[in-house]
Structure formats: structure tokens, C-alpha cells
């Protein structure tokens, strides 16, 4: 894969964040939708053709106006739509991510934009079986624990107790830790997470 293939994708991913930060004029302090503690359940997909279903939750605590701390949990049912293909059955395929992060929040009149650096772990388990009657039945199972870190953008819209929330998470592992080879970005792009949900202001 050539670098040029990924540049437009990268720009596409980062541009909204960049745009949000510039678009809205600064609001007066009384208009800020300030929240100290929020719980934000949501559902989402990965960008690997949208075949993974994510059940996720973010807890965000802003002890100061510009300091955000967060915990993000996600249970992913992977490859949900294609569990039987060419005599290959998916017995199970899921992953569990837990990350903690810190970052900052930008405020506008009706919404907030939080950028977070997240660090945690990911557990993946899946099993496939070839059951083609013309050959021996063979299974392969994978169970792996790996680091998970990356950048999260969290958007909250609304001024009341309940509000709309949307998140974008761009994983940075395994690239560039495994090497700077552009091919490594393959897995990262597949695992970009897009989530939407309803948040609740606790405090």
C-alpha cells in the first residue's frame, strides 16, 4: 500500500476535529454547557466495512474547565454479518477494550468538544472452523491481549441533563510501535471506532 492511499483518509479523520475547533465563536462563560461528570453509553461500528457492533460507554470527569479525564469501555461483537462463508463458520468473535485517558475540552454555545489521549488494553477472542465436507474439519482459535492506545474525539450536543453524544476513536497501536512501515496502518484504519449515544449529566 502506498502512502498516498492513506493520506486522504487521515485528513478525512482529522479534519472534522480541526474544523470544530475553529468554527464556532467563543461563547460567554455563562452559556457554556459545563458538566463535571457525565455518563455516556452508546453504540458504534468499526470502519472495517461496518461489520463490527460496538457497545460502549464513556465516563468523563472534568475537575477543571480545561482538564478532562475519562474512562472508556467497549464490548465489540466482531464480524457480525458474515458468520458463515465458503464452508467457514465463525464460532465466536468478540473483543473487549478498556481505556483511560486525559485531555482537554473546548466549549461553544450548545456543544462541547473533548480531545483525549487514551491508553488501555484490548482483549480479542475468535474461533473459526472449516467444515467443508471434502476436507478434514479444522478449527483455529485466537485469544490475545494487546495494548490499546490512541486519540479520542468526543462531541456533546445539548444543554440539558440528557444530551446527544458522538465519539471518534483513532487507535495508534500497533503503528508506529511495530515499525514505521505504512502497511501497519491497515489494522488501525480497520479499527477506527465511530460511536453515538445519549449522555447523562451526573454533576
Amino acid at each position: 500500500m502506498k502512502t498516498s492511499k492513506y493520506l486522504p483518509l487521515l485528513i478525512l479523520v482529522l479534519a472534522p476535529t480541526y474544523g470544530f475547533a475553529q468554527r464556532e465563536p467563543a461563547a460567554s462563560p455563562k452559556d457554556y454547557p459545563t458538566r463535571e461528570l457525565t455518563i455516556e453509553p452508546g453504540i458504534g461500528i468499526h470502519t472495517n466495512f461496518g461489520t463490527d457492533l460496538l457497545l460502549a460507554g464513556l465516563i468523563q470527569w472534568n475537575p477543571y474547565k480545561r482538564l478532562s479525564l475519562a474512562s472508556h469501555t467497549s464490548f465489540n461483537i466482531n464480524n457480525l454479518l458474515q458468520r458463515d462463508f465458503n464452508y467457514i463458520k465463525t464460532d465466536y468473535n468478540y473483543s473487549f477494550n478498556q481505556k483511560f485517558g486525559a485531555g482537554t475540552t473546548f466549549y461553544s454555545r450548545k456543544s462541547t468538544h473533548t480531545l483525549l489521549l487514551m491508553i488501555g488494553a484490548k482483549y480479542t477472542a475468535f474461533k473459526e472452523t472449516v467444515y467443508n465436507p471434502a476436507v478434514d474439519k479444522v478449527s483455529a482459535s485466537i485469544s490475545a491481549l494487546s495494548p490499546d492506545y490512541g486519540l479520542m474525539y468526543s462531541h456533546k450536543r445539548g444543554l440539558k441533563k440528557y444530551f446527544f453524544t458522538g465519539r471518534l476513536y483513532v487507535p495508534l497501536y500497533p503503528w508506529p510501535v511495530k515499525g514505521s512501515d505504512i502497511n501497519f496502518v491497515d489494522g488501525n484504519i480497520n479499527n477506527i471506532a465511530l460511536e453515538v449515544g445519549v449522555g447523562m449529566k451526573v454533576k
Binding site: 482529522l14 458468520r83 467457514i88 472449516v130 490475545a144
Partner: protein, 272 residues
């Protein structure tokens, strides 16, 4: 206002730095003074293939007949394979090989698949005949390479890996060494497993070296089990095989390719 400007500048700098970093991740070209290029038209499928040949450093001085590695998807993989052959052979103090990168003449999906399940698949038979009757003879005529089966290796990734699996099954006298990376064994209801079974009696006692590599994160419900099935069938049925497999931690289909090329070449140089 000042703060907004600062935010804009910071984000702009971050995006710029990332773009520059990505742009700098280009692959290192193999030594041009050791690279020969030519084009060859196949009489079997009419396509013209651009061939790159990477020579060992001691090619002209040693006078020996070198082994050869034929690399599928040559336009993407030639430089990486040729550079690492030089590095690995040097590290283990073994004779380097002649690397033959096979560029695209047709769509790779057509050339590397054995059966026709769509208009763009099923040209693998013609491509294999092109290798056997046109490309390999020309390489062995024009370059100082060994002409025995055991001196020839073939390396392929994805559909290329599928082609290598089929070459092992249906034309086992052409190559003695096979490096299969994330092979698409799932193709056409695992037709490559059926071909292996069909030709097994003819091939099972011949000496062969086979390396199988895959990414641990290839979890789209089609890669891992067929990969394991192919590995187990070779392990259980072939008496004179030198066989190894590797699952590259946390890497996907493309990300695992280059690490598996390095491991496959290392296994090849240490065990051929």
C-alpha cells in the same frame, strides 16, 4: 481570540506533522546497479509482464549458480524482498539468491486465482504455465542461476499466497520452496485444499520447504481456519517437508505482510 489562534496553530501543526511523517514512510529502493529489468509477453494469456531481477553483491565475481526467488506482486514487494535477502543472507553467512519480481500483466485477481467464479478470476493456470514455460526458462538462460527444482522458491501474499498454494499442489516439480503469506485459501470453497488433496500422492514424498505466515488480527471469518487447515494437511501428510508457520501478533492482513516476509526469508535461508 489569542487562545483560538493558538488552538488553530497547534492543531494545524499536529496534522502537518502527521502528514509529513506518513509521507516519509516510503520503502527503500534496492540497489539500482544490481537490478536488471525487462518485459516479457506471455503466449498463454497475452499479457506483458514487467520483470525486475535483483542480483547478489557477489554475482559477477563468484561464478556460482545462485538459487532464485520468484516474488508475486513484484511491483510492491520486489525492493523489500531483495533488500532483506541481502541482509539475511549476510547475517547468516549464506549465499544470496537472485530475486525475480513479477510485475502486473493482468489484474492480480485474474492471474493468481485457480478457478473462474467471476469474470475477473480463474487465470491462475495460464499464469503458472507462463512461469514454467516462459519466465523461468528465460531467467535460467540469461542469468547465472541454478536450474534445479530445489533451488527455486516462490513467494506470494493474499491472492499471491493462494497462487503459491496451488502451485505447490498442481505443479510441484517447478518450485521446491514456498513462502505463503496470508494466503486466500478460502477462495472458491477452499479449492486449494481440494487441489492439494487431489495431487497429494504425487507430491507427498518430494522434499519441500514451506513457510506459512498470517496476521493474528485477521479476523474477518475466512483467513485463520483455512490457513490452519492447509498447515495441518502439509504437516500430517508430507514426509519430507520442512514446514513452519507464524502468526504475527496484533497485525492485520497488510500489516503482517512485511514482518512475515522477513520471517519467511529467514526460515528459507536457514533451512533450504
Amino acid at each position: 481570540m489569542k487562545r483560538q489562534k493558538l488552538t488553530t496553530l497547534t492543531l494545524g501543526a499536529l496534522v502537518g506533522a502527521l502528514v509529513l511523517f506518513l509521507a516519509s514512510c516510503s520503502e527503500e529502493e534496492f540497489n539500482p546497479s544490481l537490478t536488471r529489468e525487462f518485459s516479457i509477453q506471455s503466449t498463454f494469456n497475452g499479457a506483458t509482464y514487467k520483470i525486475k531481477v535483483g542480483l547478489p553483491l557477489d554475482y559477477n565475481s563468484s561464478g556460482i549458480k545462485h538459487s532464485s526467488i520468484y516474488v508475486l506482486d513484484g511491483e510492491e514487494n520486489f525492493d523489500f524482498v531483495a533488500n532483506h535477502c541481502e541482509e539475511i543472507s549476510d547475517r547468516y553467512s549464506v549465499t544470496n539468491v537472485v530475486v525475480v519480481g513479477i510485475g502486473y500483466g493482468n489484474d492480480r485477481e485474474l492471474d493468481y486465482t485457480p478457478t473462474k467464479i467471476s469474470p475477473t478470476t480463474g487465470g491462475g493456470g495460464d499464469f503458472l504455465r507462463f512461469l514454467e514455460n516462459e519466465l523461468v526458462p528465460r531467467i535460467e538462460q540469461e542469468f547465472s542461476v541454478d536450474t534445479t527444482r530445489n533451488s527455486r522458491a516462490i513467494l506470494g501474499h493474499s491472492y499471491g499466497g493462494l497462487f503459491v498454494a496451488c502451485a505447490l499442489a498442481v505443479n510441484n516439480q517447478l518450485f521446491g520452496n514456498y513462502i505463503l503469506l496470508s494466503p486466500s485459501i478460502w477462495f472458491d470453497n477452499e479449492v486449494s485444499l481440494l487441489l492439494e488433496k487431489e495431487y497429494r500422492e504425487r507430491n507427498r514424498d518430494k522434499p519441500q520447504l514451506v513457510f506459512l505466515g498470517i496476521g493474528q488480527s485477521e479476523n474477518l471469518g475466512r483467513m485463520q481456519a483455512p490457513f490452519e487447515a492447509f498447515y495441518q494437511t502439509l504437516r500430517d501428510n508430507y514426509s519430507s517437508i520442512s514446514l513452519s508457520k507464524n502468526r504475527e501478533d496484533d497485525l492485520d492482513h497488510m500489516g503482517s505482510k512485511n514482518p512475515n516476509i522477513i520471517k519467511g526469508l529467514t526460515y528459507y535461508f536457514k533451512n533450504r
